[in-house]
């Protein structure tokens, strides 16, 4: 399933990045070291963190996209940083739980 299909199904806001990538799974977490050791390449990563380290972690684990949940709004600099590192950032008012419940089979 492509990120774009998830955007449509979950009514996500596209903050930046390419949504044509294939998503292989989903991981939820806010502790960055934990995410780094458990998230997999091509995962959709759901978090409430929105600082620049999120961009670095998404890049290092090679996540398909990051969904920033619960209406948390990243600063424009973070969105620009994500753009420059080819990280797809998405936003939603929903909680991580609500997003996961709506997530299609990956």
């Amino acid at each position: 399933m492509k990120v774009n299909d998830i955007v449509t199904k979950l009514s996500l806001e596209v903050l930046c990045g390419d949504t044509s990538r294939e998503a292989g799974g989903c991981y939820i977490g806010d502790l960055l070291s934990w995410v780094m050791s458990h998230a997999k390449c091509d995962d959709v990563w759901i978090t409430i963190m929105s600082n620049s380290n999120v961009v670095a972690v998404a890049s290092l684990v090679d996540a398909a996209c990051v969904i920033i949940a619960e209406g948390v709004k990243p600063d424009p600099e973070i969105i620009a940083l994500a753009q420059s590192k080819d990280i797809c950032l998405l936003g939603s008012e929903k909680t991580a739980f609500e997003l996961a419940a709506l997530m299609p089979e990956l």
Binding site: D30, L32, S37, N53, S59, L60, D62
Partner: protein, 143 residues
């Protein structure tokens, strides 16, 4: 081991937002050189955790990366406070990171354990009051 690429990075201790730049840069280099995704992931995550540790605990430091065809060596050196009890520091969940760092999503007590998990060999040399040097080797699995 005659083909070697050496990379050197200064890690800025003041700047939490640029932490990770060196690891992302190494990741990019390794990708260009055609290393496998598994090797790239292990090197870049191990190095990122090391970089973050330097920023949190040691006001920055230096990272040297040696890329050989069969292994990648990462040497992290700082002049920080040192680690009093290395065995305790290696325990998953043990952290001395301050609250402001935790609010950024760090301080889970996973940094050193992750570095060990993702490297094939890791050596910690640390002296309280003088600094810490960590050497990690990531082996490139032979075909």
């Amino acid at each position: 081991m005659n083909e070697v690429l050496k990379l050197h990075y200064d890690v800025d201790g003041e700047n939490f937002t640029s932490a990770g730049d060196a690891s992302v840069n190494v990741k990019k280099k390794l990708r260009q050189m055609g290393f496998s995704p598994d090797v790239i992931r292990r090197v870049s995550i191990a190095m990122y955790e090391g970089e973050i540790n330097m920023v949190i605990h040691a006001c920055g430091g230096e990272v040297d990366v040696f890329i050989y065809p069969e292994e990648i060596d990462i040497i992290l050196a700082d002049k920080g406070p040192g680690i009093a009890d290395v065995e305790l520091a290696m325990k998953e969940g043990y952290s001395t990171a301050p609250d402001n760092i935790r609010s950024l999503g760090f301080g889970a007590g996973m940094g050193l354990p992750n570095m060990k998990r993702y490297s094939d060999e890791m050596k910690i040399e640390s002296k309280v009051g003088a600094g810490t040097k960590i050497t990690m080797k990531v082996k490139v699995a032979g075909e």
